[in-house]
């Protein structure tokens, strides 16, 4: 171990999409960047927030409209649909089968790996309000911030992606 502290490279990803395929791509890049020894931030906004929802129903105090949003949106990484060839849920089943065959990590595994590698997972609080999502509904260990915090990280990063 060296006492010398070297400024690390940075990578940021905005995950706007709530599609399974795009979320997988985002987390593969995030894990790759972490393996490059970058400090990695994923900023979840709009539909991307659903990737970070817990599987189970969380009891919250919400209005009617927010409750409806909560019921209509996918609850967590296992419930996301594909951006193409979703075929009413058949597509995700097929792709999961193919991924298993090719020994590719599933989205929940990629998320776990990202957390293990210290990837910073940030939820956009403004869009949480719009979609009626509360902190208790998202997985533990997330940070909560807005555009300024994202830009703070992105300004220092050479790789910044919007997915």
């Amino acid at each position: 171990m060296t006492a010398l502290t070297v400024e690390k490279e940075r990578t940021t990803i905005v995950l706007f999409s709530g599609d399974l395929d795009k979320a997988i791509a985002a987390f593969i890049i995030a894990n790759g960047a972490a393996a490059y020894d970058h400090e990695v931030t994923i900023f979840f906004t709009f539909w991307g927030l659903n990737t970070m929802r817990k599987d189970e129903v969380v009891k919250t105090d919400k209005g009617m409209l927010e409750k409806m949003f909560g019921w209509m949106m996918p609850r967590g990484p296992r419930k996301l649909g594909l951006s193409k060839m979703n075929m009413a849920g058949m597509g995700p089943k097929m792709i999961k089968h193919v991924m298993k065959k090719h020994n590719a990590l599933t989205l929940p595994q990629l998320i776990e790996l990202a957390q293990e590698q210290g990837v910073k997972l940030v939820a956009c609080t403004m869009t949480m309000d719009l979609l009626g999502l509360q902190k208790e509904e998202l997985i533990d260990g997330m940070e909560y911030a807005g555009v300024a915090a994202y830009l703070g990280d992105a300004t220092e990063a050479k790789v910044n992606l919007f997915i």
């Binding site: 593969i28 894990n31 790759g32 972490a34 393996a35 490059y36 020994n103 590719a104 990590l105």
Partner: protein, 76 residues
């Protein structure tokens, strides 16, 4: 200094696992120590060349035999 070569077998694993496993192994190694990585991922030659350059380590040697890539990386 430890002289033994650290072997990281990622055969059969898909992207991004080869570099994730290699990074984990490097973290526990000492400067100058050699890591031997095995991979069957078809993209791994380009991946490892880029990754070693980007992380400032040294690709000492690499070879491919029967679809298995072997990389020798020296930790800097």
């Amino acid at each position: 200094m430890k002289a033994d070569v650290v072997v990281v077998d990622t055969k059969g694993l898909a992207c991004p696992m080869p570099i994730v496993k290699a990074k984990k192994a490097l973290d526990s190694m000492e400067t100058g120590q050699i890591m031997k990585v095995l991979s069957t991922d078809k993209g791994s030659l380009n991946d490892f060349q880029a990754w070693v350059r980007g992380t400032k380590h040294e690709l000492v040697q690499h070879e491919e035999k029967d679809g298995v890539f072997t990389f020798y990386v020296k930790k800097q």
